[in-house]
Amino acid sequence: MEETKATEGNIARRALRCSLHRPLFSRTATILLAVFVLGGLATPSLKAQEPQRDPAGTATGDKTSAVDAGGNSFVVTEPTDKTAPDYAEKKKAYDEYQAQLAKEPLAAKLADSVGHTRVATNFSWTLLTGYLVLFMQAGFALLTCGLVRKKNAAHLMMLNFAAYVFAFLAYYAVGYAFQFGAVAINAAPANLGGTPTLNHFLIGSGGWGFLGGRGFFLSGPGYDSGSLCLTLFEVVFMETAGYIIVGAICERITFWSFLLCELFVGGILYPIFGCWVWGGGWLSQLGATMHLAHGYVDFAGSTVVHAVGGFCAMALAVILGPRLGKYGPDGKPRPFPAHNLAFVVTGTFILLFGWMGFNPGSTLGSTDLRISVIAINTNLAAVAGAATAMSFWYFRFGKPDITMACNGMLAGLVAITAPCAFVSPTSAVVIGILAGFVVCVGVLFNERVIKVDDPCGAISVHGYCGWLGAVCVGIFADGTYGSGWNGIGADTYLGTAGRGVTGLLHGDPKQLITQLIGATLCAVWAFGATFVVFSVVNKIKAMRVSREVEIEGLDVPQFGLPGYPEDFVPQGLAAAEA
């Protein structure tokens, strides 16, 4: 050891002596330096052409944000395409608008205020619904904690807690920038003022964007009032995917590898697919680039959030293997009954409540009055899913299993998340029923056929039903909402003015094909990327706890504290007198 240290010291001293003897700047270095300085001087002038960020929120929302109930803008923009057949008409309207503006300057000022108020209303809406989604963290923590064995109660709670903490940090650093760094190009959120500073793809461009590149560490162009409003809303959605994996990997995963999973989900897995669908990326632009209906549509995230979480969970569950004792020597599964059904049901109700933020909030604005339809559709699918699961279980096994009833409700919620804005209430009921079936069959299939141990049913509820939900957009969407979605058919679609996103049953089979492609790609991406990365991790160091730790329960080995200390410490010791 002494020898190596001495040698290292010599090398360092020699290097220092050499650098002191050389001229400070070689010719190449001088030229490079000049280029950088000139480039640096030129940058401010380039920056002036870039949209300016607005951290104080005093420049967001003006007359360009003022629209009427039908989405028609107060401001008339100058038509640029001189070859278009309606150019003369549009030019006339523009000239008239300019003349009116000159005659009534007070009306223009009022329009600025109206536009600002509209954006402000939508900020409130987006942030408050975002807080509801944040509250779902508590719901999922209760749900999953209740579903596992008592000896792992603290472990489950801590997984849910740490998931929020570490995935958030990864999303802050790179996730948000990857997902929304280019959103202003193809999918600017007009309801929030447009977030114009988020306008660059790191990988791809135009209609073929793959990765956003603005807003790293939420600084520079990301340190903007409108952008950060979007960040809050979108980070809590990412967190939902982050905690979904807990449901499948609990009771046997090491804490260090779990933190790695969360950093992976928050920084890479979720944002990349999220960019493709919501960040203006290539899946959303398939309508324009490949004439595939409205492109891939996922309103509030059946696939972007739930299927990503569910299939990531599946890959991890496959790598980890089933819990000790889950399968007997004959391969027959054994049950590990839930230790606290009160937690399970309460958690489910909290999730339902939070979903009132998840789905209606995804309009990013209460000025979009479709929010009431979305809220009702969400609830209908939830109850239909629960009723279906309860009936299925009653007829198949003789009693309506409480945990499956809860899973059924969540399945309905997951499945309606993509189509909620585009379907009728009755379609929502049907979607809920379908989800109820899928989750019941899925749970039995995972446990009995492919033998993937999923303690909380996360793979079936979020993975399978998430895929189903996105596909249901392509079947049940009725065209009453979503005109101009992903930039397609703003004036007319399939021959009807104002027609929105439409599915197979209402005359648009191409949307179904697009949905099948996108949803399946989501499953492949989430499962594949996770499986590849974490197979490598697992080879380097085992992600699963030792046999002894798993049998004892993970509470004390991982966190030094049992979830229910009074099971271990006799009451006498706990009540010591001074």
């Binding site: 599964p333 054994r334 049950p335 003789g398 009693k399 299993d401 945990t403 499956m404 749970v443 009995r448």
Partner: protein, 112 residues
């Protein structure tokens, strides 16, 4: 002195306790136990997987009594704990070597 251990249905604990007080039994210890007798358990399912419920929750009542009231104690417990259905429980009577009251140091029947 004898120790009487009675395994009884939990919801009949109150009735048994009152009956024991009536026959001048001063103190008792109870614990929550699980067990089964000659009846086999039954099968339930959890999320589609079958499992056996073999053990039923019961209450164990333990009392230390002087020999002379053994018969009345056993009769009191039997009367109040019997429903006539399977699962009524059992009573065990075992001899006791010594009893000590910790507070005073008394031994034997005086300590009961």
């Amino acid at each position: 002195m004898k120790k009487v251990e009675a395994i009884v249905r939990p919801h009949l604990l109150d009735a048994v306790r009152n009956a024991l007080h009536e026959v001048s039994v001063a103190g008792m210890t109870i614990s929550e136990v699980q067990g089964h007798g000659r009846q086999k358990g039954h099968t339930e399912t959890y999320r589609g997987t079958e499992y056996q419920i073999e053990f039923i929750p019961k209450i164990k009542v333990e009392v230390i009594i002087p020999d002379d009231i053994e018969d009345s104690v056993v009769e009191a417990i039997t009367r109040t704990a019997r429903t006539g259905k399977f699962g009524d429980g059992k009573i065990f009577v075992v001899p006791v070597n010594d009893v000590i009251r910790i507070r005073t140091g008394e031994r034997g029947e005086a300590a009961v």
